[in-house]
């Protein structure tokens, strides 16, 4: 779950990280209540990156200019993400910019600090980056080591190391995937301040983080309505631009089925992993949400039952076909209780295909016929 900058900064401040004074604004006239002096920075609150380049950050010299800019910024959409509000802060006198983040390194299997003596950069493309693995349990010397390797010394080394330790505490206590300060600025008064903040909260940990309770639905704004509803049902749906809706059990098998459809000349419209031990209700929901997509001509259901019992899937199919014509369905079903499933579906006239490759080819064939009939 990506958070807005103002939410990230509020969390940072609870862990003792310096942030600039700020105010969240949803209407231009709210600028009249701003409690700090001009010039001001106005920043679009969006969940996408590349905000600065897209013109989502502006400076205002007075209230009149501020209101005009606020009106304009509040209507912006950046990288598909609508501006939720503006964060208004006094313009900071910057002496130096740095970069600091904590994330999990999947290859090393542990959290790492990433630091750079250059701030405000795209960290992936910067050469001047140091990474330090963080052993468990945490000790603050790791942050001093990081600051030293970033080339810092004296008071600044201690201040940045202290902030890095706070950032790690925040990362661990809040179960984050990423805690990033970019840029971390050193002011002309030698203060170290998080000028921008980004947090990605870990989706699997939301259930044990009361702070984030109820946040998920308002942070799924970069997903389509169907993707969003699937997520809330615990299903992973990705919509693509073709006309064959693909549903499978298991992520790897769903990806492999999608790859095969493309390789043999078809066009996938959905990737939907219904999970390992799916029940009837979930499978029915999955079938319905794929059928709802107006681009879908054919639904390819591929179930290889290990944990998933084929008769449960067949039950969902029987219910689904009461509402939707079976002519759009191609079903590959194999595994536990296959014979029972076959009996349940015998009356419907739906043919079950036991092997994957023939099922994929049948779905492509059918998609061509149905797409042809539609045009």
């Amino acid at each position: 779950m990506n958070l807005y900058e103002y939410e990230a900064k509020s969390i940072f401040s609870q862990f003792g990280i310096n942030i600039p004074p700020g105010m969240r604004v949803t209407k231009p006239e709210e600028l009249r209540k701003v409690f700090f002096g001009y010039p001001l920075t106005l920043k679009c609150q969006v969940l996408s990156g590349g905000r600065g380049k897209a013109g989502g950050i502006k400076f205002a010299r007075d209230l009149k200019e501020g209101e005009a800019l606020a009106k304009q910024l509040l209507e912006m959409t950046i990288g598909g993400s609508r501006t939720e509000s503006l964060l208004v802060e006094p313009k900071v006198a910057i002496a130096r910019e740095l970069y600091l983040s904590v994330t999990l390194d999947r290859e090393q299997g542990c959290p790492i600090f990433i630091g750079s003596a250059e701030g405000g950069i795209e960290i992936e493309s910067s050469a001047n980056v140091v990474t330090v693995p963080i052993p468990y349990p945490y000790q603050p010397y790791v942050a001093r080591d990081l600051a030293k390797r970033m080339g810092l010394s004296g008071n600044l080394l201690s201040k940045v190391a202290d902030l890095a330790t706070r950032l790690y505490n925040c990362f661990e206590k809040m179960d984050l995937d990423l805690a990033e300060v970019n840029p971390l600025v050193v002011t002309e008064g030698e203060e170290v301040v998080a000028l921008d903040g980004k947090i990605i909260a870990n989706d699997d940990s939301l259930g044990r983080q009361p702070y984030f309770k109820g946040w998920q639905s308002k942070h799924l704004v970069d997903l389509s309505d169907r993707e969003c509803r699937s997520r809330l049902m615990g299903l992973n749906l990705v919509e693509l631009d073709g006309n064959i809706g693909i549903l499978c059990n298991g992520a790897g098998l769903t990806m492999a089925t999608m790859d095969m459809v493309k390789k043999f000349g078809g066009r996938p419209a959905t990737f939907l992993d219904v999970g390992g031990g799916s029940d009837q209700e979930k499978t029915l929901f999955a079938l319905e949400i794929v059928a709802e997509n107006p681009n879908v001509d054919v639904i390819l259901l591929n179930i290889l039952g290990g944990i998933t019992a084929c008769d449960d899937v067949a039950g969902a199919l029987v219910n689904f076909m009461k509402k939707s014509p079976e002519s759009r369905l191609v079903v590959r079903l194999r595994g536990n209780n296959q014979e029972i499933a076959e009996k349940m579906l015998a009356e419907s006239g739906l043919k079950l295909i036991p092997d994957l490759e023939p099922a994929v080819k049948e779905a492509i064939e059918k998609s061509r016929t149905l797409a042809g009939a539609r045009n």
Binding site: G109, P111, G252, A256, D259, G276, G306, I307
Partner: protein, 293 residues
């Protein structure tokens, strides 16, 4: 075969839960030597004829178990894994999906320090066909034979094992390492074990998009692996920036693409298939070449 055989003594943590109980029954039916279950507070009872203990320590002392299969809920998995490692279990198979990745990182640190082998999390487990099954793989699909399999996926492993078995290529051992970004044992350790295993002729590696483990495996293969490797990467047509079902299956910042992985594996001398059907063809060819030499 690697890691486990018919004599491996296994306990099940979370054996009295719904999923744990169902799979304890299936593992017993397959022939797995399950010597105990562990559920705090249910010590002294039995599940499918197997004694249940309150603690792993007690179970290990009473049974001499060396492996544990864990089915506990996600937020209890770190505790369960550390308990197993502290009690002297040498191999942990962590099935649970949805564990906070920072918990997994802490468990990985703990098991590494104790020299305990961890498989998973979010994995189907291990099967040595005809001998033993630790996890949730459907035993009936797998047949004994000379193909060693390592996979990041569950059902895709079943699919490929199915077409391999149908074509007469049985398996020595299949290991599902799991679909999470942070996990226990990875490709290098398992490739190395299969390379040393006399029962394995050909190694099948089933990867997917996300991370750089396959690229690192490629380097390891070119330097260390003498046996033929057939590789398959799922997600060849996945769009960037989208999480494809598994927590770890995501192309981010242009990194983790199937293309990059397939290229690295090809350069390392592995046979790289684009469909499960091609995996079978390549295993057939590799075994044919072994027969002639």
């Amino acid at each position: 075969m690697i890691l486990v055989n018919k004599d491996t003594k296994v306990i099940v943590q979370g054996a009295t839960g719904k999923m744990g109980a169902a799979h304890t029954k299936r593992m017993l039916a397959y022939g797995t030597k399950i010597v105990g279950g562990v559920t705090p507070g249910k010590g002294g009872t039995t599940i499918h004829g197997v004694p249940v203990f309150d603690t792993v320590r007690e179970a290990v002392d009473a049974t001499g178990a060396t492996a544990s299969v864990i089915f506990v809920p996600p937020y209890l998995a770190l505790d369960a894994g550390c308990e197993a490692a502290a009690a002297g279990i040498g191999l942990i198979v962590l099935i649970t999906e949805g564990i906070p990745p920072q918990d997994t990182a802490k468990l990985v640190a703990n098991t590494r320090a104790r020299d305990v082998r961890l498989i998973g999390p979010n994995c189907p487990g291990i099967i040595t066909p005809g001998e033993t099954l630790l996890g949730i793989l459907p035993g009936v699909i797998f047949k004994p034979g000379p193909v060693g399999m390592i996979s990041r996926s569950g059902t895709l492993t079943y699919e490929i094992a199915l077409v391999l078995s149908d074509a007469g290529h049985g398996q020595s051992t299949c290991v599902g390492v799991g679909g999470d970004p942070v996990k226990g044992m990875g490709y290098p350790e398992l490739l190395s074990a299969f390379n040393d295993d006399p029962a394995t002729e050909v190694i099948v590696l089933i990867g997917e998009i996300g991370g750089s483990a396959e690229e690192e495996a490629a380097t390891f293969i070119s330097e260390r692996i003498k046996k033929p490797v057939v590789a398959y990467i799922a997600g060849q047509t996945a769009p960037p920036g989208k999480r494809m079902g598994h927590a770890g299956a995501i192309i981010s910042g242009g990194k983790g693409t199937a293309e990059s992985k397939m290229k690295a594996l090809k350069a390392a001398g592995a046979h790289v298939a684009t469909t499960p059907g091609e995996v079978v063809e390549m295993v057939t060819t590799a075994r044919g070449q072994l027969l002639r030499t």
